[in-house]
């Protein structure tokens, strides 16, 4: 917490400025702004349809905002194609786990390194020395991450058929392989039981501290967000409802109304 507060004075790592997204006639996001600072765990909460996933998809460049800008370390990400987001240090996981199902765990994690390496098909086919060096570098990092997330026992296994919790860890490993500065986690607690959520929360905190990664957590699970986030942004109907520490947001009358309904209704 102290670390995060210290960072407030510096320029934000990621700035969401007045972002709006319109689908046909529906306004999915309406002028949302917030900053993320280095080392923060930022929780993005809100009821279903609040615009969390829309915002998430803007950050990973799957959607193009109709208004506003998103700045990563001061420069806009909106001119970048989707495959050039990983290289500036934005990594992500997916809501229902999007792994490469027919490939081994270790290959999935290796693919995480794609944006940090350069080889071409000719030198790959000929296994030129440069390719061997690249592969050695990939294997070194991948081995370290597989150790870190305790995936050694399943490293050679094909992903399809692994337990859901393990697949989530593989996805996290794949995202970490790209050495992201910001890790976007889309409902990581979905489908996990009470105890697993607890373990996950610890793991996210550990990743932040050990690897100095800033985390954006989009989550339904209030308990998880409130226990690990330094800063919380609440959305409803595409607008920012409240922002602040978990305690502040929890006591915000608008947030309470959005989650529990108002007295009048």
């Amino acid at each position: 917490m102290a670390q995060a507060q210290l960072a407030q004075g510096q320029a934000p790592l990621l700035a969401v400025n007045d972002v709006s997204v319109v689908f046909g006639g529906i306004i999915a996001l309406n002028g949302v702004s917030f900053d993320m600072h280095k080392g923060q765990i930022l929780g993005l909460i809100g009821p279903n349809g609040a615009g969390k996933t829309t915002l998430f998809n803007c950050l990973s460049r799957l959607y193009q905002p109709s208004k506003g800008d998103i700045l990563m370390e001061g420069s806009s990400i909106l001119t970048r194609p989707v495959h050039r987001i990983a290289e500036i240090g934005i990594g992500r996981t997916f809501q229902n786990v999007s792994l490469f199902q027919n490939m081994s765990v270790i290959d999935n994690v290796r693919i995480g390194m794609h944006s940090h390496t350069t080889t071409d098909v000719v030198s790959d086919s000929l296994q030129l020395p440069a390719v061997r060096r690249t592969e050695a570098a990939i294997n070194a990092r991948v081995g370290e991450i597989i150790d870190y997330l305790d995936l050694n026992d399943v490293a050679a296994r094909v992903v399809a058929g692994l337990p859901f919790g393990t697949q989530k860890r593989v996805e996290l490993a794949r995202a970490l392989a790209a050495e992201p500065k910001i890790l976007l986690l889309d409902e990581p607690a979905g489908g996990l039981n009470h105890e697993e959520v607890y373990v996950l929360g610890d793991m996210i905190k550990r990743i932040r501290t050990d690897r100095n990664i800033t985390v954006l957590l989009v989550e339904h699970h209030m308990g998880l967000v409130m226990s690990i986030a330094d800063h919380v942004v609440a959305l409803n109907f595409g607008r920012k409802l409240a922002e602040g520490t978990p305690a502040q947001v929890q006591q915000d009358p608008d947030v309470i109304k959005a989650y529990l309904g108002s007295k009048e209704s």
Partner: protein, 347 residues
Amino acid sequence: MTTAHETAPAATASKKAAAAAAPSMNIARVASLITLALLLLVPLFLKNFYIFQMTQWLIYAIALLALNILTGGSGQFSLGQSAFYAVGAYTAAVMMEILGVNYALTLPVAGLICFVFGFLFGLPALRLSGVYLALATFALAVAMPQVLKLHFFESWTGGVQGLVIIKPDPPEFLKTIGLKVSQDMWLYYFTLVVGIGIYIASVNLLASRSGRAMMAIRDNQIAASAMGIDVPLYKTLAFGISAGITGVAGALGAIAVAFVAPDSYTIQLAIALFLGMVIGGVGWLPGSLAGAAFIVFVPNIAESISKGLSGAIFGIILIVIIFLVPHGARQVAYMAQHLIGKIGKSS
């Protein structure tokens, strides 16, 4: 990028993985050594006609390998491989007969031309996937024989008549060192060397960064692009590489048969190649040999059983195979490996 302390856990991790995969790796290695030995030795004891058939087999295996990289590797379907095969064959024929170029030099040119052709075809194909892509490539296969017949190209392609090629002789030095090698045998070993080279390059490709990118696209495009993979680039590259290798196979085919004509490269060839890939096991490169054996030898077997009903018998054999082993030779190899592993454990 790497520091010394990072390499240590990686080494242990890869060692653990290697230890787990060791027995299957050994079986695979022994199997490939036996296959290689058979490929090298068997032709020495065969008549020229059978050697010629084995050459055909290898050539189709190369074409199947190419299709396997496209479909098994990058997840794109093609019923148009015969078009790339034809372009490769005609490139070799025109270069040898009209420009008087040495046959060995035609292969890289055929590969390059077909790579460009495939890459360019891959660009519009990006908009299509699955069965729609298969249909678009189907159109290519249907159009190709007619394009080759066009009057406009006749001075080069020989039109409907096609081109006759003079079969290359084995190099002189073999005679001087006292080896008597027939044309067919020479072409067989020439094809074998080219084929092994392409096989090794393909295995390397699929085991490296580019190959993993293609397989990632096959499994999940959105996740692939989130990992920084340029999806359109790798999809078109896969098309180009597949077409290029198919072109080399086509050139070898033209040289071995010593003749090219438009009607040798109809949609039937494309379907045969597709069939061969399924029989061999989609995405399993060694299966190309099994798939090619099926499309070269099974029609002959069917014909030897009944001349009038050879098509029906071919169909029955095909249905039986698909029914028993839907994943083709890959499944057979997997079962055999399991069996050998069990025997090895119990003894």
